[in-house]
């Protein structure tokens, strides 16, 4: 089972839900795909059992072979390789590793070298559950390849929880695609609703079934989301109330399962989720 946790708007509670759901389950794998800012490991105790570098290739030019035809610069969509009269400029951090510049070079003046773009870290909890998270190198242009590597650690016979990045950009698409079900964590505000609508559009294109959880729920404002959900025929799996004590616990790096009210909310959500998934 591959469950993706999305939001659209940042700060609605994806990580909160991911780490608490992971802690609640007896057996689960947590994959933190918010590689620009992974946070899940701050809440999960465990020992490091694996770490690896993710690399990409970038062009290096042998100037003596270069005939200054500028075909490499014309081909590159990202201005990563810029031919000039003095020398060929290469901006490694902009390179998307497409291999095109080498292909179009008529004199074979371009070769590729490796550079680290991020790391994958694997943690084993005392109850033998795994947390895998990816971290993107500062300055690098795209987290997509890191996310690809994190998702290689999905275990097909396990309950995989994929904590996705906010927004609906390439990184989010890479994280959510292939999921069996998506939980949209939102907050009862117009911003929450508006960004959720973009996520729903994305999920429609990817044909992924979805349900909503209203986090920081408040009787006065929940209707903002409830009306949207009704109009768009999306189930609301549950609500987690806005509680200052929750925020305080989370700020201390603690999960919330010791709180009776929160635990009830999670139990209700998992029951609903099982029903949705089996439907």
């Amino acid at each position: 089972m591959k469950l993706a946790i999305l939001s659209g708007k940042g700060g609605t509670g994806k990580t909160m839900l991911s780490v608490n759901l992971f802690s609640y389950k007896n057996h689960a794998v947590l994959l933190d795909c918010d590689v620009e800012e992974p946070n899940d490991h701050l809440f999960i105790e465990g020992r490091l059992f694996h770490k690896e570098l993710v690399t990409k290739q970038y062009p290096v030019v042998t100037e003596t072979r270069c005939i200054h035809c500028e075909r490499c610069g014309d081909f590159c969509q990202f201005n990563a390789i810029v031919p000039t009269k003095k020398r060929i400029l290469v901006y490694e951090e902009l390179c998307h590793d497409c291999g095109g510049c080498k292909l179009v070079c008529p004199t074979n003046a371009i070769r590729y070298e490796n550079k680290a773009v991020g790391t994958i870290t694997s943690i084993m909890t005392p109850t033998n559950k795994q947390l895998i998270y990816g971290t993107l190198e500062i300055g690098e242009i795209s987290g997509v390849s890191i996310i690809e590597h994190v998702k290689k650690q999905i275990q097909p016979d396990q309950y995989n929880i994929i904590d996705c990045p906010p927004g609906t950009s390439c990184s989010t698409v890479e994280a959510v695609q292939g999921a069996d079900y998506a939980i949209i964590v939102t907050e009862p505000t117009v911003f929450g609703k508006s960004d959720m609508a973009m996520v729903v559009e994305l999920l429609d294109k990817l044909h992924i079934p979805r349900g909503i959880i209203i986090n920081k729920a408040d009787l006065l404002y929940d209707h903002i989301i409830e009306e949207y959900a009704k109009d768009n025929n999306i189930s609301i799996l549950g609500k987690i109330p806005f509680e200052k004590t929750y925020a305080k616990e989370l700020a201390n790096g603690n999960t919330l399962l010791h709180n009776k009210e929160f635990l009830n909310a999670i139990q209700h959500i998992t029951t609903q989720l099982d029903g949705e998934y089996n439907a």
Binding site: G73, F78, N79, A80, V82, T84, K85, K86, R87, L89, Y91, L94, G139, I141
Partner: protein
């Protein structure tokens, strides 16, 4: 020689732009014909590396001097490789006022990044 200035409009009376890489136009002064003309900046739409794309356009116009309030490290590197001299001015003058500053030597020649953009 040709001098390029990042601008918010397409003529010498236009306001200058604080953002070199993402200005709407470059106003170019040709000292041979003593005339101004403008090009639209295609780098305004670039996802990243906009400074480089902006410089590439100016190089293809045979510009040899650029005068701007800020230039990022990628733009400066590209300007150097394309043998275009960068100068800096303060404030938000009009395009033609920047030229007066240049000819009165009231601009600073640049050798390092004044601001880093990612």
């Amino acid at each position: 020689m040709k001098i390029a200035i990042p601008a918010q409009g397409d003529n010498q009376y236009a306001k200058t732009s604080a953002r070199f890489a993402r200005c709407s136009h470059f106003v170019i002064y040709d000292s041979t014909s003593l005339t101004f003309y403008a090009i639209e900046n295609s780098a305004i739409k670039a996802q990243s590396g906009a400074g480089i794309e902006a410089v590439k356009q100016l190089a293809s116009e045979d510009v040899t001097v650029v005068i701007a309030p800020h230039l990022g490290p990628k733009a400066l590197d590209a300007l150097d490789a394309l043998s275009i001299k960068p100068y800096q001015y303060d404030g938000q003058p009009l395009v033609r006022e920047v030229l007066y500053k240049y000819f009165e030597k009231d601009v600073k020649e640049l050798h390092y990044a004044t601001q880093t953009h990612v």
